[in-house]
Amino acid sequence: MAWHFGKKLPFPASFQVDYDRPNIYDLGKATEPASQEEKSAQDKMRPSTSFFRDSVKRFVHNPVAMVAMILLLIIILGTIFIPLFYPYNYSTQLSFTNRWGVTDGTFNYLAPFTYSKTEQEAIANGESVWPHIFGTDNLGRDYFIRVVYGARISLLVGVFAAIIVLIIGTIYGAISGYAGGKVDMIMMRIVDVIYSIPDVIIIILISSVLRQVFKANGLENQRTGLIATMGTGMLSIFIVFGLLYWVGMARLVRGQVLSLKQQEYVLAARSIGAKPGFIIRRHLIPNSMSVIIIAAGLQIPSAIFTESFLSFIGLGVSAPMPSLGSLASDAYQSMATYPHLLLAPALSIGLIVLCFNLAGDGLRDAFDPKLKR
């Protein structure tokens, strides 16, 4: 072995001879360029990873959040696709409208997986009848499809409310955080005041008033357009969210923007004359997007919660469109005799809210380890 003292020894310089080691001190070869094999021996074998991939990896390794996420996906896909092929409709009263064309009162209040007289006869004649998985309600409507529709409405309310909160809160928070100084102080004082308003009481007040306003303007009976498809109850929920619930998001975004605007690339952008609006759009919001979206995701269960609460005290989505809250509210009256009518929507709300919370918490921990509680 030819020691050459002009070169630094690799550390740690062990006195044990490693026979497998390539002879890097052989002067005869030192002037030759390294072969491809030698080069690749120097490569670190860990593949490069992005922030996103890293976060996904963290998320996948969280079993609770994963299970919640998968369940949630199943529920969402179910609410989209089950009504497409399901043989019953959420508003069809089977005691009057059925494929046998007979009026049969035994369609009302069927227990789960039981059949009315007409259906029993049909089955006896060899016809196949789709079972009523959750039975039927007081008007002979298939309850399973009503719960599916209710879940669909509740999810829609949650998603739209979250989008409203996301848009208003992000814009407000970003402007407040970027402007700083007096503007920031005034804008944040406004947020403080709205934040300290007892929201649910005001929500009840606003939505009971809005209902009357819509009703008086004849919007209740409109056949076409936005309000006809959504109903006044849902619209007032959205308005309430737009008025009150964006403040949490605004605070979060402001905090993000405050820390991001100290970064060099923002200074660089400013020094080449970029306008504040451009910097906010181009740099600040995209860089806080993961935090914003996760916070919006956590807003969804809160909106579902609020909607079901309002439906239960009679201020939510209007009949015949079911939401999980209004289904539970209707079933509450007949709870003593038909408990399954209450259990199905009640457990659905709990399951959906639970899944959203668990999956959202998991996502937040995975994508923003700093925020971890």
Binding site: V193, S196, I201, I206, F309, F312, R373
Partner: protein, 310 residues
């Protein structure tokens, strides 16, 4: 009390008054949005009767005068007569409701703080063990399930199926009182459990606990003398929002257990469209929440002097 603390207290009180003022203002102007006024539903009312009715409730004056009158009435806590329940004053109805709601809310709060702190501390001490997992599973579930669902399920199981509690609240006595109180405490108790758990975990790992242990303090002494004090701090700062939560919960829980309290009368006033009662109840409830938040914020400062004042 130094000048900084005094400034904080004054600022905080000013903020509370401003909030109540905004709630009152929003309530008043929102009610004006309702088209046709409160007497449109009674169709047989003649023009003279309508005028007399309007004069009685002060609705014939210009809006801004009505607003000022309303502000004054709020300060004196006099919301005039109810518009649907003839011959009853709004404040009397609220006071009557409070007789039922107040004890219920206080017991629920005490239950929530006691059990929340206890379970949270247990979970933290047995961190990672099965008992910790069990407590966390239950607290997560009770946060996810809306109170009206828990309430209806509990009525179904304990009143209708098992018959442990009487169904009539007013004549039922203590037995009928316990169930709604427990019910109201579920959500705040679960929340406090989580708060207390993480606070206890934090303080269990801190230097002064290690010091205390190094000095040979016994386990119980450490738990009750050092840890508990620190795990109570977030609970105190949560007690304001908890009060708001209990009030909101009472809206449905009282209805489900047919408690003739302020929450139930609020819900009834909405369906009845009894506007003066809606306004009165909103203002009283919101005022209570704001005052409780104020108290809990100030109390938090007393318990935890290290907290940085804004």
């Amino acid at each position: 009390m130094n000048s900084k603390t005094l400034l904080y207290v004054v600022k905080r009180i000013g903020m509370a008054i401003l909030t109540i003022f905004i709630v009152v203002t929003v309530t008043f102007w929102f009610m004006q949005l309702i088209p046709g006024g409160p007497f449109t539903s009674e169709k047989s009312v003649s023009a003279t009767t309508l005028a007399a009715l309007k004069a009685k409730y002060g609705l014939d004056k210009p809006l801004f005068v009505q607003y000022l009158q309303y502000l004054w009435r709020t300060i004196t806590l006099d919301f005039g007569p109810s518009m649907k329940l003839k011959g009853q004053n709004v404040m009397d109805i609220i006071r009557e409701g409070m007789k039922y709601s107040f004890p219920l809310g206080v017991v629920a709060a005490v239950l929530a703080i006691t059990f929340g702190t206890l379970l949270g501390s247990i979970a933290a001490v047995f961190h990672g063990k099965w008992i910790d997992r069990l407590i966390m599973i239950f607290s997560t579930a009770f946060i996810a399930f809306p109170s009206f669902i828990v309430a209806t399920l509990m009525v179904y199981i304990f009143v209708l199926k098992l018959g442990w509690a009487p169904s009539n609240y007013v004549t039922g006595g203590t037995a009928a009182f316990i169930l709604p109180a427990i019910n109201l405490s579920f959500y705040p108790a679960s929340y406090i459990t989580r708060l207390a758990r993480s606070a206890t975990l934090d303080s269990l790992g801190s230097d002064y606990i290690i010091t205390a242990r190094a000095k040979g303090a016994s386990k119980t002494r450490i738990l009750f003398g050092h840890v508990l004090k620190n795990s109570l701090a977030p609970t105190i700062s949560y007690s304001g929002p908890m009060f708001a939560g209990i009030i909101t919960g009472s809206l449905v829980v009282e209805q489900i257990y047919s408690v003739p309290g302020i929450g139930a009368s609020f819900v009834k006033s909405i369906t009845n469209r009894d506007y003066s009662l809606i306004m009165g109840t909103t203002v009283v409830m919101a005022g209570l929440v704001v005052i409780m938040t104020l108290i809990s914020d100030l109390l938090y400062k007393v318990v935890n002097p290290r907290v940085e004042l804004e």
